[in-house]
C-alpha cells in the first residue's frame, strides 16, 4: 500500500521573484513517470515539503494545459515558506497531491467569467485564467479585476500582456493608493467592482484574495446581481495532511483540504462561514 504522506521529489527549475515577498517556483518531478501521471485541475493545491523544515500547502498557479512542470507562488510567511524562499534552482523539494476539489470547470463552461483577485490571491485564479485562455472557445467573456496594495505587490506582471491580447478578455489592474507613473485604476477591489459594474447575466464570479477583500467583495457582487451559487471563492486555512484526516481545516462538517478549497458562496453560507 502506498504511503499517502510521502511526497514525490521535484526539482526547482526556475524561480521568479514576483514581489519583494512572493516568489514563483517552477517545479519538475524527478521521476518522469510521476510527471506523466500527475494530473490536476485548476484550483487544486499541493503539499510542499522543504526537507528538514516541514510541509505546507500551496495552490498550483499553473494551468494543467501547460504540461511539463507545475508552478506555485509562495509568500514569505511561516517556517516552510521562509525556507522555501531560501532555495535555489536545482534544489529539491517534496510534492504531495494534487489535493482539493479545484474549480468546477465544467460548470463554468459557456459562461462569462469574472475573476476578482487581490495580491497573491491571483495565484489559483491564474491557473484557471490560463486554462480558460487555452480553451478559449469553451468560455464566454473573461474579465479580470486584479488588485494589490501597491504596484510592487502585483503578481504575474509578465503575463498581463498575454491576457489582454486574448480575445474577449479584459484586464483591470488597480492599486490601493495613488502612485506615481501608475496609469491603471486606483482603489480597493470592491470599489473598483462597483465602478466597473460587470454584467451578471450568465456569469460566474471567481474571487480570491485576502479575507478582508473577500468580505467586502461579496456584498458588492450580490448587489451587482450575482447569485450566491455563482460566486466562487477559495478558502485558506491551516492544513497539514491535505487528506481530510488531521482535523485542522474543518469548517462545518467539511474539510477545506478535501472538500475545498473551492466553495461557492452558497455553500459557505450553509455552514455559517463569516465572509
Amino acid at each position: 500500500m502506498q504511503n499517502i504522506y510521502q511526497p514525490y521529489l521535484a526539482g526547482i527549475i526556475d524561480i521568479r521573484q514576483e514581489t519583494p515577498d512572493i516568489k514563483t517556483f517552477k517545479l519538475k518531478f524527478r521521476d518522469k513517470e510521476i510527471e506523466g501521471s500527475f494530473n490536476y485541475r485548476p484550483g487544486q493545491f499541493v503539499e510542499f515539503s522543504v526537507f528538514g523544515e516541514g510541509e505546507a500547502p500551496f495552490c498550483i498557479a499553473s494551468s494543467p494545459t501547460r504540461k511539463g512542470s507545475i508552478e506555485c507562488s509562495v509568500k514569505r510567511m511561516g517556517k516552510v515558506s521562509q525556507a522555501l524562499h531560501e532555495l535555489d534552482v536545482g534544489d529539491t523539494v517534496g510534492i504531495r497531491g494534487p489535493y482539493g476539489n479545484g474549480f468546477p470547470v465544467e460548470d463554468l463552461k459557456a459562461k462569462n467569467l469574472l475573476f476578482v483577485a487581490g495580491g497573491i490571491g491571483l495565484a489559483p485564479l491564474r491557473s484557471l485564467i490560463n486554462y480558460c485562455l487555452d480553451n478559449r472557445d469553451d468560455f464566454k467573456a473573461v474579465t479580470i479585476v486584479n488588485g494589490a496594495r501597491t504596484s510592487r505587490d502585483l503578481v504575474y506582471k509578465s503575463e498581463y500582456r498575454e491576457w489582454e491580447k486574448a480575445g474577449d478578455t479584459k484586464l483591470h489592474l488597480t492599486v490601493d493608493c495613488r502612485e506615481e507613473d501608475w496609469t491603471c485604476m486606483v482603489g480597493v477591489v470592491p470599489r473598483i467592482l462597483e465602478q466597473l459594474k460587470p454584467a451578471c447575466r450568465d456569469s460566474s464570479a471567481i474571487v480570491c484574495g485576502p479575507p478582508v477583500m473577500i468580505r467586502y467583495t461579496m456584498p458588492v457582487l450580490l448587489k451587482l446581481g450575482f447569485c450566491a451559487p455563482s460566486i466562487i471563492t477559495t478558502l485558506e486555512m491551516k492544513m497539514k495532511c491535505g487528506l481530510g484526516k488531521c482535523g485542522r481545516c474543518s469548517i462545518g462538517n467539511l474539510y477545506v483540504c478535501k472538500d475545498g478549497p473551492v466553495f461557492s458562496l452558497e455553500q459557505l453560507r450553509a455552514f455559517q462561514y463569516e465572509c
Partner: protein
Amino acid sequence: MPSEKFFVKEDLYNKLEELSKEFEIIGPRELPNKGIFYQSLKNTRDLYLGEGFAIEPIKRFFLKPSEWIFDERFRENKNILEGIPLPADKRIIISVRPCETRGLTLLDKVFDSDYKDNFYINNRKRTIIIGLACNKPAKNCFCTSMGGSPIESRGMDVLIFDMDRGLIAEILTDRGRELFASIGEGLNEGQRRLLKEDKEKKKDLVEKKLSPPEGKELDKIFESDYWEDVSRPCIGCGICTYLCPTCHCFDLVDERRKRLRCYDSCSFPDFTLEASGVNPRPTKKERYRQRVFHKFDYFKKNFGENLCVGCGRCIRHCPVKIDIADIVDKVPGLKKE
C-alpha cells in the same frame, strides 16, 4: 466448532504464554498508584482482568502517538526519501473494553476510507483484539447512549465474559477462532443460558445517559454564548483528546531528518494558528465547540455516527471536571421530550 467457549483464567494465562512465542501480547497492567496501562506483557500473568479502565485507550497501538512517516537523507548532493518499513510482527491485544474497540471502528472510517492510511491499516491487520465485557461500568460511562454497550463486540475478534467461575469467550472472527481452537470447551446448556442472562443484565448496567441532539439541531446554537460559558473552566490541555479512543487529529513535523506524525489536539491554540498569525479558532470557546461539534455533529453528518463511544475517559481525567456528556445534554433550547 462452537462460537462460544468456556475456560478458566488459568487456561487463558497458559494459552497466552503459548501464544507469546508467536505474538506480541499486549494487555492492561496495573501499576501501583498510577493506574492501568496497556503494555507489552513480558509475563502474561501481569495481565489485568479486573474492572476499571486503562488510562490510555488502545488507540495508541493503531494510531501511534508518534511515528516516523519517512526518512529524508542528503547524500552526495542529492535528496533521497526512504520509506519506513512497516512492522510485520503479529500482536494480540487482550482484555480490551468494548468501547475502545468501538472507537477503532470509528477510526477505521477515517483512516481506512478514501485516502487509506497504510500505517494505521497495517496496525489493524496485524492485531488480533480480544475484548472483555464490562461487569461494572464506571460512573462516567455512557456507552449505551452512544450506540455501544458493555457487551458491544464490534471490531473484536473475541469477546470474553468474566463469569465468576470462569470465562466465556465469544468467538467473532476466523482469526479468533483459530486462536482459540485449542482452549476450553464449548458451552453446555446451563452456561449458554447464563451467558444470555449475563448479556441481558449487562445491557442495562450503564446508568449515565444522554441524548445527543441531532446534528441539525446543534447547528442552530453554533453561535450561542453557551460555548463560552462551558469552555471557561477548560485549561486547554490535551488530556481529553489524547485519551479519547476516537480523537485522531495529528500533526506532521520534520525532526532529525525524518518526518514525524504525532498526536495533536484541537484544544491547543497552535492547532489552527496560521503562519500569518491568524487563528480561526482563537479562543477556548471556538476550540471547545469544535470538539463537541466534531464529535456530535460533523462526524455524524459525514459518517452517520457520533465520534464518541461514551467511555467517559475525558470526564474521568479532566483536571477541571468538564463533563462533555453533561454539556451536550444541557445544550440550551434543544431539550427533547
